[in-house]
Symmetry: C2
Subunit: 236 residues, 2 copies
């Protein structure tokens, strides 16, 4: 927790918050803060700044807050990724959020196990927990949006054309001829398949809508690793 994320409801007066939940525990156990110490704070959806510890008691932490800086710039990449199994989904959401992704599309694909769609990890509050962990890590405040596409064909034929109207589409595909480009500042939609990849028919459908297949070399990577590597390579 490199940043303590505040919500509007935490404010008890202008510039003053009281915290009672895991943030209190973290400040006590990890920061070992004392009255007078300055902590990094940020308002969800707003600016970042400092919170001076006014008091830290067993059940409540009171901070005097000054918010003065914008959060770090977002990534230009929208990430559309085949729904991974629940532990991978958690890591992927945390890591890609820390890297600045602001829009996730979780989609079905032939090699996605149907049972993954029943995971508790897809409940809105479970998704938000992972996004908040990513924001706290990277000192960001802007919550990403997550949408679910439970049918691949509908994603490819209806959603994707709308996404690609405003962005360049890239599909991570180990058998692509083109290597993934570097350092792109334009809006991008990066599409990443499941472990084992998209099936040929899916690649065809994505490319028919204008997405370009790109590879990262001969090494096959786990989805979480590939996502971080692709985001780092594409970052301007």
């Amino acid at each position: 927790m490199n940043l303590i994320l505040l919500e509007e409801g935490d404010f008890v007066a202008p510039g003053r918050v009281r915290l009672r939940d895991r943030r209190l525990e973290h400040v006590r156990a990890i920061h070992r803060a004392r009255p007078g110490d300055d902590l990094r704070v940020g308002l969800i959806g707003g600016q970042i700044g400092t919170g001076r510890v006014l008091s830290l008691e067993r059940d409540v932490l009171e901070l005097e807050v000054q918010l003065s800086e914008p959060p770090p710039a977002p990534s230009a990449v929208r990430l559309a990724v085949a729904l991974p199994r629940p532990p991978s989904l958690r890591k992927l959401l945390q890591q890609a959020t820390a890297l600045g992704v602001k829009e996730f599309v979780l989609l079905h694909s032939e090699r996605v196990e149907k049972s993954y769609w029943q995971s508790h990890g897809l409940a809105p509050e479970a998704l938000q927990r992972q996004l908040v962990l990513g924001l706290e890590q990277a000192r960001d405040t802007i919550l990403p949006r997550v949408s679910l596409e439970r049918r691949f064909a509908r994603f490819a034929r209806e959603t994707l054309p709308a996404l690609l109207a405003g962005s360049r589409g890239l599909v991570a595909h180990p058998e692509a001829e083109q290597v993934c480009p570097r350092a792109l500042a334009e809006p991008l939609t990066l599409i990443v398949g499941p472990e084992g990849g998209f099936v040929p028919r899916e690649i065809e459908l994505l490319c028919a809508e204008g997405a370009e297949p790109v590879h990262l070399g001969p090494r096959l990577l786990r989805v979480e690793t590939a996502v971080v590597a692709l985001l780092a390579r594409l970052a301007p």
Copy 2:
């Protein structure tokens, strides 16, 4: 397991292996292979190729092996990283091995908890297990080497000068002025600190030996994420 790694001891005749351990279980449970199927195989330290299933019984898998291709090119990066807590170490070794790193130096630093050095994860067989998982993922056969540096000062003053005699040194440091360069083909030694970073005195010692501090932007990343992002950015 995108590649079944073979050892010399698996061969019962030229071009023929018998497997009985977790590789047998994996081929049965995940590949669901049958006699006549071709699997991707590689010899540790050697070439990759195909293994045709001759027989698959309850307790033994027999393959006819043809090895004809070199493994993928290694990364030019030697990774010197402050010893992370055991679960992070496992992920880091797997992921960096999959990305082609062939030399790891695990080092002490002021913010490394001393108890991490007592972890069972540092036993040679435990380290090798993670390296093998990374090789199997990326279809590589060349086992990385891992060395341990339990004293930071000795690493900085004795080991590092020797490493930097043959490679360019980069230290990941969020407060650096220079952004991390991209696409370097020359031999590199990438030095990555613990969660929370190196302390200023450590940065000074590393830079005094010629390592250049570089950053990845304003977002603070977990060590595993930073390592993958740096390797992807540096890859030519």
